[in-house]
Amino acid sequence: MEEKEITPDQSLFIIQSMINTAKNKLADDGFLLIFWGWLVFVSAIVNYILFLLKFEWGFIVWPILMPIGGIITAIYSARSKKKKLVRTYIDKYLGYLWTGFGIAMALALFSLGVCGMKSSYFSLMLLYGFVTFVSGGLLDFKALRIGALFSFAFALGSLFVPELEQFLFLAGSILCSYIIPGHLLRNEFKSQQNV
């Protein structure tokens, strides 16, 4: 970095990039947490209701909504990558963490057909808890870590309830680990942007 005249726009860029480099600034706006949180929550509840109504194809909600979620996530991620002026270490670690989580989720969903609902839903809730616990640590955001503990508790509890109730436990897990912390994260992110 040399000493030379700078414009105000350059000044802003320097400040933003240096602060992002040095400080564990909240690197996530919570959008994907909220988006996936509500998507899974609604899917689980709809599936539960359809089962109660003895609708045989209740699970159909998953293969419809999840791929849509995947497409929207891909578009959103590509757009935010373009907009970002700085890529911090936190961004990088979060990227690896959530990519690994995505792969693990795909395998857990695959296991649904092989091992049955109980063991698969247990794995899903453990994964929700794990990924949000580590993200909470990286972002230094307590609500995510606390939400993750609830998700672990729901996972454990789900082992002792009938299959149908698994949907409610899954909805509870995603509410605590994604939706509530996601909204809190978004509020915090927005308030930091306004400083």
């Binding site: 105000p8 320097i14 240096m18 602060i19 040095a22």
Partner: protein, 96 residues
């Protein structure tokens, strides 16, 4: 306006250093050198200028027999940085 921006901070390297120091408790000289991609000589000169303005304090000590230079922002430095950002925002708003 543009001309009113604090001349101590309105320089690429000095602004970069102060931006880092406002967000961390303290930073070593080597850390600042790495993050700002500057040369040791230039960084030393600029750190001295910021110190003379009272915006940072510099502590020199030894760690495992190696000299260590630690920089911290002072309350005056934080105040100056906040004022600089506000002035910058005003300037950008005027420009818009």
């Amino acid at each position: 306006m543009f001309k009113d921006l604090d001349p101590v901070l309105h320089s690429q390297l000095r602004l970069a250093v102060v931006s880092i120091l406002v967000s961390v408790k303290e930073a070593e000289f080597t850390f600042l050198k790495e993050k700002t991609s500057s040369t040791a000589g230039n960084l030393s000169v600029q750190l001295q200028k910021i110190k003379e303005a009272g915006y940072i304090e510099i502590e020199k000590k030894f760690k495992d027999n190696y000299p260590q230079t630690i920089c911290r922002i002072t309350p005056k430095g934080v105040e100056a940085f906040e004022k600089y950002v506000k002035d910058l925002q005003q300037y950008i708003n005027i420009k818009k």
